[in-house]
Symmetry: C2
Subunit: 244 residues, 2 copies
């Protein structure tokens, strides 16, 4: 079996390292890549083809893991050459997923949840051909959501509804605690019911959100836009909070 | 040492069962109690005095654990007879705590965080005499917050800011997930990062909040009232959510 990689960032490299089998060959190309990525590709030992068109053509599974912005372009450019499964692992919206579905025959939308470099990342997949990817569980836990392309993208958004709003709430509540000189005690008290790593996890969420508030706001706007016929009281408050 | 109990509900009974020492005698009274409570008191083996005035008078530590509504009355009625520490464990606001402080000489405000009948409840205490309660760590973990009466009450409210808003957020996000037929998957995906017990804990929070939405709303209103000079975007959204 041949797995082709478009994009050679963290996701692709991790998959290349996790999925080791005599029966699987990974291929990619250096075509149009940055000097840094080319060095990464050369050092990895992966099989290198001349063009991404060749990669798409020869792959049983073609994985697109580039960036949310280029996902649709990649699909438009190489999707038609892919004869096997086209697995999109970019962090894209349901609408972009549906757009990509129009340019590609056997789209499976996927996402890796959990830290990709941790011990327990889980690969979620949806689409008619998703079943054919379940053999990957030998290398990393792979769960099928449904036959419907787009369900993984929706699930990612649902996850974001929760995590991004929790981050906004942590900013709000820890700031009030700080005002009363009870910030450490606030985290300590909550760790009794929320788990021992509550403080560490919360501070990482707060920092990450404050350092990327523009991007987080944009992502919240996308969520509000997509789920606009639902009651979004908390998500809208989170967006308001981040814009302050 | 003599510990007096006003109120013989879950908190009092648990403390009576946890704090077992040859040097400590627990006392209470049946005065004015319900038939059910009197039976509980008689079955427990605790030392029974004629009146709560006697109990207050004889106690080195007098514990008030009745109900938020009667906490101030209890303090007004028996506080003046208490010669030792007056430990208030009712779930009261900072303002009620300050009112009680006016009727009582050696007030310590306290709260038990974590399930009282679990293995790891923690007793938090604040007040000038809080140090004198740290010996209780022999029986259940006891942490002093500060010398300032009211700090534990504030800390409880800060905790509620987080937990009650999270409950509102769980209601919102799980309802959207349900709409897309992805409720189980929503909980599953989040349990990867939020902990294995995420689903169970979340459903218990959602049920508890929906079944007690009037009381939860009132508690959120108290919080908003108390912290009214802070940015309460998320808490106010949680209140709005609960009132729907």
């Amino acid at each position: 079996m041949i797995i082709g990689l478009i994009g050679f960032g963290k996701v692709s490299k991790t998959l290349f390292n996790l999925i080791r089998s005599e029966n699987i060959t990974f291929i990619t190309s250096k075509e149009g890549r940055s000097a840094e990525t080319i060095e990464d590709i050369e050092n990895s030992g992966i099989t290198i083809l001349e063009t991404f068109r060749d990669v798409a053509n020869k792959s049983d599974i073609l994985i697109s893991a580039t960036s949310p912005k280029s996902a649709l372009d990649v699909a438009k450019t190489y999707g038609r050459y892919a004869k096997g499964i086209y697995l999109d692992l970019n962090n894209i919206s349901p609408d972009t997923t549906f757009e990509i579905d129009k340019c590609v025959d056997n789209l499976v939308d996927g996402a890796i949840i959990g830290k990709i470099d941790s011990n327990n990342p889980v690969l979620y997949v949806s689409g008619k051909k998703a079943d054919e990817l379940l053999f990957l569980s030998e290398f990393l836990q792979t769960n099928k959501i449904s036959d419907d392309v787009g369900d993984v993208a929706i699930l990612k958004m649902l996850r974001s509804v929760y995590t991004k709003s929790v981050s906004a709430l942590l900013i709000e509540s820890s700031q009030i605690a700080q005002k009363y000189g009870l910030e450490d005690e606030f985290f300590e008290v909550l760790s009794i019911t929320e788990g021992e790593d509550f403080k560490e996890k919360s501070i990482s969420r707060i920092t990450n959100t404050l350092n990327n508030s523009k991007r987080k706001s944009e992502e919240l706007e996308e969520i509000i836009d997509y789920f606009d016929d639902s009651d979004l009281t908390m998500v809208k408050a989170a967006l308001k909070k981040l814009n302050r």
